[in-house]
């Protein structure tokens, strides 16, 4: 009776020896994340380099963990950060507070803030956990200009672009 059980157990062990291992060699090797994985946020830009974020602070209002802080200022055509009149002069996310729920992304009227697939967040002190615009903004796309830009008057009068409903 005992021997049968032992043999069955050893058999499982033996079978597992020939199966593909589940573990991977992180960080050399990384497992792909799901399409809707919610990792560290980034603030996106339009193709011309203007920031999508208009400083409306709806993300901060939606945030259940009070992790987002926004301060806005007024754009001018000489110093334009985003289309329309308003831009975020300060944008901070405290990643010690963030619970990665993605409500900010849902609230954003311009699809500026998007939770990406970066889950590798480490900090050596609390201050470092607060990401400002410098670390959240994506790089200027090829062909675009960095912000602030000098723009033609009367071109970027709308804060919120015409958008279609999400498809997936």
């Amino acid at each position: 009776m005992f021997l049968i059980e032992l043999a069955r157990g050893m058999g499982t062990t033996l079978r597992m020896l020939f199966e593909k291992p589940v573990t991977i060699q992180y960080p050399e090797e990384k497992r792909p994340v799901h399409t809707r994985f919610k990792g560290r946020h980034s603030l996106h830009r339009y193709e011309n380099g203007l920031e999508k974020c208009i400083g409306c602070a709806l993300c901060a209002a939606a945030c259940p963990a009070d992790a987002i802080f926004v301060e806005s200022s007024e754009n001018t055509d000489e110093q334009r950060f985003s289309p329309g009149e308003r831009y975020a002069s300060t944008y901070e996310i405290n990643f010690l507070r963030c619970i990665f729920c993605g409500y900010c992304e849902d609230a954003c009227p311009t699809e500026a803030i998007v939770l990406g697939d970066n889950y590798e967040l480490t900090f050596s002190d609390r201050r470092e956990a607060i990401y400002g615009k410098d670390r959240l903004l994506v790089p200027v796309p090829p062909g675009g200009q960095p912000t602030p830009q000098q723009t033609e008057p009367g071109v970027f009068t709308r804060s919120i672009p015409v958008m279609e409903n999400p498809k997936d």
Binding site: A57, P109, I160
Partner: protein
């Protein structure tokens, strides 16, 4: 009392006076009928159609005149074929209003769909987003989708400066006309108006400079969308991110209730900062309004940095001829020693910007050391206001039919804008207004009688008016007789006196003449009767209540003193001629927000806290004691004035309370007769006010705040319950002989001046004139705008000349606090450059 009418609104019975509109009646029983264009303080116009309701009226049998009854015995109600606007429909007996049926909802939905046809829906960037009636009502009643074509939306200018204080977003405007009606109906500054019609209708300004009104900020509060925004708050913060604290405006004697919206900001290094000042409802003081000086003029309190205009960061003491930073302990010890040494030769000079608590402790110090204390002001008569001031329970909003108001020597719109607005409303309710002034003022548009006198005969004019009332016909001219008839027989009389063309002596004589008039006619010691002084500062009346008096001769007092203690006053900045007297003083302590001209000469400079960073109480011109609360955190190295003087007291061996403002007020209430029995808790009490504003339904009364932190307490004047006051003799008019080539210069007050509390608000600089003098044309061979040289008290100033037909001949008008040191009527020389 008008007839009462009972009606039913959404199954609730309500009884209201005849003539009430349905919206107001519903509000009384807590039913919110949505509105955009209706505002409880303005005449209804029914422009927006948002307030549609189903109205039924009882059917009356024509033959009998009796209501027709249903089989069950209830009156038969006939509903109209269409919805009616609740803001223009008056209530009637037995009316039945249905505000929530499917028919009504469908009507509102359609109205909203129309309003939104061209609305940009840029709520995320709109400053009104979060406290927007259109947003709220669309959520409540609006259609989820529009049937109009998106491409047909009108695209209009989004950044139109109406003036230098208010921006217009043409797209957001829903054409309700609240702003236009406010400017023409409420404040009579019709500087904005409609242009074009239909979908092309837009708001335009018709004044130069644009939107030239002292009340322009209020239009942004009552705008039901984000079409009108103030320059100060543009994109400043979202409404839900801010906290609110109660405060009191410090710019004049009205004592408007303010609400400061504050929040923490990264720009300010993580500090809590004031984002905007909003009106706080007090129907007995400022109703729902504040002037632009109060709204934008709080910036002086938040200045920081190194420039001399900025606030003092730490105590300074003079070492080796230089003012150098010192510890509080050292500065207080030096101040106490110096003041103590002077003893009886100590002179304390205080300004009316200080709270009651500050004044009390400074007075305790001066009296404890045996020294003198003086109030730095150019207006007098506060002792008479204490005696025959407005009776307890007075409310300028109650004046109307059967009331007379006499305004003497006052350009009320410049000196106290909110009182201007309230007196104008009183006239519209039927009050009889008499304006006596040497030159025309805006208030005269509403005056039943205008008395014109020459500068210098203010008191004589009021005395002549009293003579005419007494029936002494001898000297009175016809204007005065007519005015006297208007006053006689009316139930209430309020006398308002200002400081137009007056110095201390003239002001005291005028106040006495006004008091005599009130005493002789018996209009004292009762509600809505009495004397009202238009003080230049928030707490001048409080200083008088405490027994502080202006010094009749400041230079002589300075010469007699061995030590000077100055708080919230800048004698040298006001009058450079005092420099010598001040330099001669062995010891000067200055306690202020800024390094003033006087402070530069001081031995010890102590940094005080502004009203936004501490608590305290002010006594308004109407003798209403009101509390203010700290809005932001106090700067680390500054202290409230009462604490500073309390600490000096302690070190100089004088007993004083320093624990808290409430503690000082408790002492003060024991000592000062006017405040007997008062405490901070009483000042914080509130009562239900009408109209109901500041609740979640921001559409009804705009974004003015509900008063939750105290309406204040109006204290009784001496003559109420006290011995009847006696008439006093008018002081002899000061003789002012003019030498050859000299002219008589008189001071006048302007709202926007160069005072230290406004100099820090850059927003208002465009409206603040450069130093000027005003003359009747033909007095001087020079054109309007020419530069002239004004010799005043041994100094020569180059100023701009303004010519005005309306001015009387023979005088030079010199505005106060524009850098020209004129404390009263004075002989000057004027030369064309």
């Amino acid at each position: 009392m008008s007839k009462l009418v009972t009606l039913t609104i959404d199954d609730k019975q309500v009884t209201v006076p005849e003539g009430t509109v349905i919206v107001d009646a519903a509000k009384k029983v807590g039913i919110d009928i949505p509105v955009f264009c209706y505002h409880p303080k303005m005449e209804p116009v029914g422009m927006c159609r948002m307030c549609l309701v189903d109205v039924g009226r009882p059917v009356i049998d024509r033959a009998t005149g009796q209501p027709v009854l249903e089989p069950d015995g209830s009156p038969k109600v006939q509903f109209g074929p269409k919805l009616e606007t609740a803001c223009t429909t008056l209530v009637s007996e037995g009316m039945v209003v249905v505000g929530m049926s499917e028919k009504v909802k469908a009507g509102r939905k359609d109205v909203l769909e129309f309003l939104l046809t061209s609305h940009p829906l840029d709520c995320p960037v709109c400053d009104k987003g979060g406290e927007c009636p259109l947003q709220n009502l669309t959520m409540g009643f609006g259609p989820g989708e529009s049937r109009f074509l998106y491409d047909e939306k009108m695209h209009l200018a989004k950044h139109v400066p109406l003036g230098d204080l208010i921006f217009l977003d043409r797209e957001r405007c829903i054409q309700c006309g609240r702003c236009v009606r406010f400017q023409s109906e409420v404040v009579d500054d019709p500087v904005i108006g409609f242009y074009n019609r239909g979908r092309k209708l837009e708001i335009r300004t018709y004044s130069d400079p644009g939107f030239d009104s002292y009340f322009s900020g209020n239009t942004s509060d009552i705008c039901p969308v984000g079409a009108l925004t103030t320059v100060d708050f543009r994109f400043g913060a979202r409404p839900w991110e801010m906290r609110t604290t109660a405060s009191i405006c410090t710019h004049c004697a009205v004592g408007c209730n303010l609400a400061f919206n504050v929040r923490r900001e990264a720009k300010a290094g993580g500090d809590i900062v004031i984002k905007r000042a909003m009106p706080r409802q007090n129907e007995q003081v400022n109703e729902l309004w504040i002037c632009d000086k109060g709204r934008f003029g709080y910036h002086f309190a938040e200045s920081g940095g190194a420039s001399p205009l900025e606030r003092l960061a730490q105590p300074l003491v003079r070492r080796g001829g230089e003012l150098q930073p010192a510890s509080w302990d050292e500065a207080l010890r030096l101040a106490a020693e110096g003041l103590h040494q002077a003893g009886r030769e100590l002179l304390a000079l205080v300004g009316g910007r200080l709270s009651n608590e500050d004044l009390f402790n400074i007075q305790a110090l001066a009296q404890g050391l045996g020294g003198k204390i003086g109030l730095d002001t150019y207006m007098a008569g506060g002792d008479l206001v204490s005696q025959v001031g407005l009776g307890q329970g007075s409310n300028l909003g109650d004046l109307g039919q059967g009331s007379a108001i006499l305004v003497v020597a006052c350009d009320l719109e410049e000196e106290a804008p909110i009182w201007w607005l309230r007196l104008k409303r009183a006239v519209e309710r039927g009050a009889s207004l008499i304006v006596a002034n040497p030159r025309p003022t805006k208030l005269e548009r509403y005056a039943a009688h205008i008395l014109r006198y020459g500068y210098g005969s203010e008191a004589a004019t009021v005395a002549a008016l009293l003579d005419a009332i007494d029936g002494k016909q001898n000297a009175a001219n016809s204007g005065i007789k007519a005015a006297a008839e208007a006053i006689t027989g009316l139930g209430n009389l309020v006398v308002v006196y200002g400081s137009e063309g007056l110095g201390l002596q003239g002001s005291q004589a005028l106040a006495q003449a006004c008091a005599n008039l009130l005493i002789a006619t018996g209009h004292f010691g009762q509600p809505n009767n009495g004397l009202l002084a238009v003080w230049p500062h928030a707490n001048d009346q409080g200083a008088w209540e405490m027994g502080l008096r202006p010094l009749p001769d400041l230079p002589a007092a300075l010469q007699a003193a061995k030590a000077l203690y100055v708080a919230a006053s800048d004698p040298l900045g006001d009058d450079p001629a005092l420099a010598e007297a001040l330099r001669a003083l062995p010891f000067v302590v200055v306690q202020d927000l800024f390094l003033t001209e006087t402070a530069r000469l001081a031995n010890v400079v102590l940094p005080a806290l502004p009203f936004t960073e501490r608590d305290g109480s002010f006594t308004s011109g109407e003798r209403r004691v009101q509390r203010y609360y700290p809005a932001v955190l106090a700067r680390p190295d500054a202290r409230p004035d009462y604490a500073i003087s309390g600490e000096i007291c302690k070190r100089a061996g004088v007993e004083a309370e320093i624990s808290s403002a409430a503690g000082v007020f408790a002492r003060l209430a024991e000592k000062v007769p006017a405040y007997q029995g008062l405490n901070y808790r009483m000042l914080a009490q509130t009562a239900e006010q009408w109209p109901i504003v500041g609740r979640p339904d921001v559409y009804y009364g705009g974004t003015a705040y509900e008063n939750t932190q105290g309406l204040g307490v109006q204290v009784k004047p001496g003559a109420q319950d006290g011995p009847p006051p006696a008439r006093g003799a008018l002081g002899a008019a000061p003789a002012l002989p003019l030498q050859a080539g000299e002219r008589l210069a008189v001071p006048v007050t302007r709202l926007y001046d160069h005072g230290s509390t406004i100099a820090h608000t850059g927003l208002l600089h465009a409206r603040t004139p450069a130093p000027y003098v005003a003359l009747h044309p033909g007095e001087l061979p020079a054109s309007d705008g020419a530069e002239v040289q004004l010799s005043l008290g041994g100094q020569v100033f180059t100023v701009t000349l303004r010519l005005d037909e309306a001015l009387p001949a023979g005088v030079v008008l010199v505005p106060r606090s524009l850098g020209l040191p004129l404390r009263g009527p004075q002989a000057v020389e004027l030369k064309v450059k």
